[in-house]
Symmetry: C2
């Protein structure tokens, strides 16, 4: 089997404890011995067993990840996947490995975290935060950060949704649109922030928002978006521009518009949210707001590691990461058409 510390100790003619101390930079070991141990460890290819260290120290250097978008897209989710990616990179940079915590039968997420002995957990993607399972996690004493959702005074990394939506609205308004509709996603904290920003922008511009211009749709669900879009297009006074829940849903919206023989943006304008690269390669490139997924993932990892390593001095907080408007070409400039 693998070479253990016992073998290494024997090879060095030292006690196990001396070797352990040498490897862990304890002060009460001579430089000569330390060098010898390090050299021998290198030669024999010694690696401490994470399992044994973990058992003894109570720290595993593993981070749990809740990624439960069973419904549909899985790891291909256009927003959460890149968040996870950068969360992973930053975690590994800090010496932590990622484990997925599943909700296996009979084991709650918290149970699972304890079972695996993870040092902390990040809720990256989760269809519903109001489940007993997630609540139990939130109320536990496990270090935790959430993406995009604020619960129970826990730390949370989120896009500046109001800022992003406001920039998008300002852009659309500046292009002369007045009849603007919003197919929004589920009214989570994210959703509500965006809706608020939408309404504010409209009222700041002195524009009314007819009730049927704000429609609840679903995140990441093109088929639903398609249906909803068709409804909007068939209104007696249809909007000139429609905001979608996200870029992926926008695909369904675009489809719906084309199916009516309408052109984008000549006949109808449309905007997404997320900044998915693929949509920028489509023709025409989608007007949208790029969320800084990489920044969010990295911030989450940093925060979580801090919570773990400096529990005394680290406080819970909500960290906002700015978004950036991508103008694209799917919102017509009505001023330019005299």
């Amino acid at each position: 089997m693998a070479v253990t510390i016992k073998l290494l100790a024997a090879h060095c003619g030292l006690s196990v404890s001396a070797v352990s101390k040498a490897l862990n930079n304890y002060p009460d070991v001579s430089d000569k011995t330390r060098q010898a141990v390090l050299k021998a460890a290198e030669e024999l290819g010694y690696r401490a067993s994470a399992t044994a260290v973990s058992l003894k120290t109570g720290r595993s250097r593993m981070l749990g990840v809740i990624y439960a978008d069973e419904s549909q897209s899985g790891f291909t989710h256009s927003y959460f996947s890149p968040v996870l990616q950068s969360f992973r990179e930053e975690s590994e940079r800090r010496g932590y490995d990622l484990v997925f915590v599943s909700t296996r039968e009979g084991m709650s997420s918290l149970d699972h975290c304890r079972f695996r002995g993870v040092d902390g957990v990040c809720i990256v993607c989760c269809t519903n935060y109001d489940t007993p399972d997630i609540q139990e996690l939130m109320n536990s004493d496990l270090p935790l950060v959430g993406i995009d959702h604020v619960v129970n005074g826990r730390s949370c990394i989120a896009s500046e949704n109001r800022q992003g939506m406001t920039e998008l609205m300002n852009y659309i308004l500046a292009r002369g649109h007045r009849r603007i509709a919003y197919i929004h996603g589920e009214p989570t904290s994210v959703g509500l922030d965006r809706i608020t920003a939408f309404r504010r922008a409209m009222s700041s511009a002195g524009l009314p928002v007819p009730d049927n211009y704000i429609v609840q749709g679903k995140y990441h669900h093109p088929a639903d978006a398609r249906r909803t879009m068709l409804g909007l297009l068939s209104l007696p006074e249809p909007p000139t521009c429609i905001l979608m829940p996200d870029d992926y849903s926008a695909l369904g919206g675009i489809e719906a518009i084309h199916s009516q023989g309408l052109r984008i943006p000549e006949d109808v304008s449309i905007a997404g949210y997320d900044g998915v690269p693929v949509l920028q390669m489509c023709d025409p490139p989608l007007t949208t707001v790029a969320q800084d997924a990489a920044g969010i993932g990295a911030a989450a990892a940093r925060k979580l590691v801090h919570l773990i390593e400096f529990p005394e001095t680290t406080f819970n907080e909500i960290i906002s990461i700015p978004s950036r408007l991508i103008p694209g070409s799917t919102v017509a400039d009505l001023n330019a058409v005299p």
Copy 2:
């Protein structure tokens, strides 16, 4: 802290070993005691520590995942991400959790696997299989399955690339195309299989394949595809149909075609490979071959778990998963244009 077996034993008035046996269905424990233990465990919320079990038994019920597409797409990779997703689901169904094995400085992937004590490893996504790092893994005695790449007699799950490509070619040929070009990806085993099938289909149809009709491109790299496509379009005798390395690259190809003022499929036909849902929502939907990512991921998990649990009776093999043609609308029917 958490409730340990020691506490549970005390609570039951039994020895630690009796409790352990009760929990693990040993025969030499009375039914009465077993029930009592189970009940107490439930009440106290006892969970065995995976760490401790792992240390003692040498089995961790964790699977390592190599997913190293640092280059670009990360978890949004349109083909590997869904593979990973289903690999994860099937693994969890069988009681295994997934850990990412990173190549941290100074620790090879194999080292990392041993360090974490994973029971097996799956190479899902990997930019280059010819590195010492991957070779070391392949030559180790760790249970292992690879996706799409055959190395060293290890188990491998792959799409039936020849079948897929052949079906695609038959479809294209049936639509009357004779000047067909292929921008292929890196010549890995996958790439070579597809090229072989392409050449066979052409020669079966008695068609020549000019050298400049087979161009090496890159997988998952729209910008590169764009450049290469422009080259093909500017040939003295340009192809009527171009096969792309994959759907994502096809986006770059489509872009290039449009940039020349050409229409798809009226002026040029194009086909992808993978069956990415997004591309089916674009207009027109892409002609492509859907790889059964879910089937591949699940098969990989099953194979790996077998290798782990029945090492004697399980042999290494190459498992092929059929692909399916998605006709789409990007390949013109030349017969229909008299």
